[in-house]
């Protein structure tokens, strides 16, 4: 366990992961549940236990849609999306950690894709 990374993640998320009562509502309501290897409730639990290495290397980091459903619906106000965001930032802010580079973009475009999608993806996938 990397203590510095763990402390950084908790400070960056601003979330008290110990408030979680393990009801799983965050994962139940997550629109990306099927696509995720680790689900929102697992992010919260694994950060609480300091088990962050599997999360830092998982593609689940890039499946969160920032829809805030888990933030809105958590009965304990834990705000799991903020934990996912902090772990993702810990991964992409490392040298070479960006999930998307500008030269990959042209192949993803079509005539109707709104600019909004590109700027949002860039904000989410890069440092």
């Amino acid at each position: 366990m990397n203590k510095f990374d763990l402390e950084w993640i908790n400070l960056t998320s601003g979330v008290n992961v110990r408030k979680c009562m393990r009801c799983g509502k965050c994962s139940a309501t997550c629109p990306s549940y099927d696509e995720m290897e680790y689900h929102p409730h697992q992010f919260v639990y694994m950060v609480e236990k300091g088990n962050i290495e599997p999360l830092l290397g998982s593609d689940s980091l890039y499946k969160c849609l920032t829809c805030f459903a888990c933030v809105e619906r958590c009965p304990r106000g834990v705000e799991p999306a903020k934990v996912v965001e902090a772990v993702r930032l810990a991964a992409v802010r490392k040298q070479g950690g960006n999930h998307l580079t500008p030269d990959q973009i042209p192949a993803m475009l079509d005539d109707d894709l709104p600019q909004q999608a590109i700027v949002t993806a860039f904000r989410k996938y890069t440092k």
Binding site: L11, T12, S13, G14, P31, S32, D34, E35, Y62, K63, L65, T66, C67, F68, A69, V71, E72, E79, A81, K82, E85, A86, L89, L100, M108, D110, D112, L113, P114, Q115, Q116, A117, I118, V119, T120, A121, F122, R123, K124
Partner: protein, 264 residues
């Protein structure tokens, strides 16, 4: 005539020009002047919730400051609205963040969230009034069953967005009634369309947007309306459904008899 600052955002200048044109023409007809600030910047598309993230809030703060002395800042795109309202909410409650932003931008005084931010739908509800809007409708959507699609960004997180009940909203349904249509309530109206995942994972976007469209169709909708260019893209292009998808401002302009002239 009441005057508001108006922030179109990047997509309303490019792929969603009609969302913008219908909004402007309708506002004018309803007695609202929308003034666009000079040299505005893109909002960034997604709000960063990280507590140490000041850089990504700067463009939203610049926009908010440009509207400080007006009656309010009006946005149409759901993403711009979400980013700008969350920035405003967080900065008003976080002195350290406000001071960090002040240092970055070289401000004499810190910006502390003084600007009032309104989505165009809130402008219709709270400034124009849906009753007044209904009285100005010349071309009502009589007999049309219209599904309102909120998606995620208009309503959540509700503490910051404070527009409507996040689980049982009614602002878009009230809008539909005001333009003479019949609102259709369906389960997926405030669930995500897949958003920007459409760039990386078309299958996931298809699954999410398909679920929204079939949920609305199952409840008898003839058409679906949205405020968000990315929702419109996913629902039209990735859902696999042929049910028509429109911006709410297009229906507004049509109901007010302005559709032809706003297309010119």
């Amino acid at each position: 005539m009441q005057t508001f600052t108006y922030y179109p955002g990047c997509t309303l200048r490019t792929k969603a020009k009609d969302l913008d044109a219908y909004a402007r023409a309708s506002a004018e007809a309803l007695g609202i002047a929308l003034i666009e600030p000079e040299n505005w910047q893109c909002c960034g598309g997604a709000y960063s919730t990280a507590t140490n993230e000041a850089g990504s809030k700067l463009s939203a703060v610049r926009t908010l400051m440009a509207a400080k002395d007006s009656e309010g800042l009006v946005t149409v795109c759901s993403a711009c609205h979400n980013v700008i309202k969350q920035t405003n909410y967080d900065i008003s409650r976080n002195e350290a963040m406000a001071n960090k932003v002040r240092q970055y931008l070289g401000l004499e005084e810190a910006y502390r969230g003084e600007t009032k931010v309104l989505h165009y739908l809130e402008l219709l509800r709270d400034v124009v009034g849906f009753d007044n809007l209904a009285a100005k409708v010349t071309n009502p959507f009589k007999g049309k069953k219209i599904a309102a699609y909120y998606g995620c960004l208009l309503l959540r997180p509700s503490k910051a967005l404070a527009m409507d009940d996040p689980e049982n909203p009614r602002i878009m349904e009230d809008f539909i009634r005001a333009i003479g249509g019949t609102p259709v309530i369906y389960a997926q109206r405030n669930e995500c369309c897949g958003g920007y995942i459409a760039m990386e994972d078309k299958a996931q976007a298809a699954k999410r947007s398909g679920a929204v469209m079939s949920s609305a169709k199952d409840m008898g909708a003839d058409m679906i309306i949205t405020a968000c260019p990315l929702c419109l893209y996913n629902l039209r292009k990735n859902s696999g459904s042929d049910m028509p998808v429109y911006y709410f401002t297009e229906l507004l302009a049509e109901a007010l008899g302005l559709k032809e002239e706003s297309n010119e």
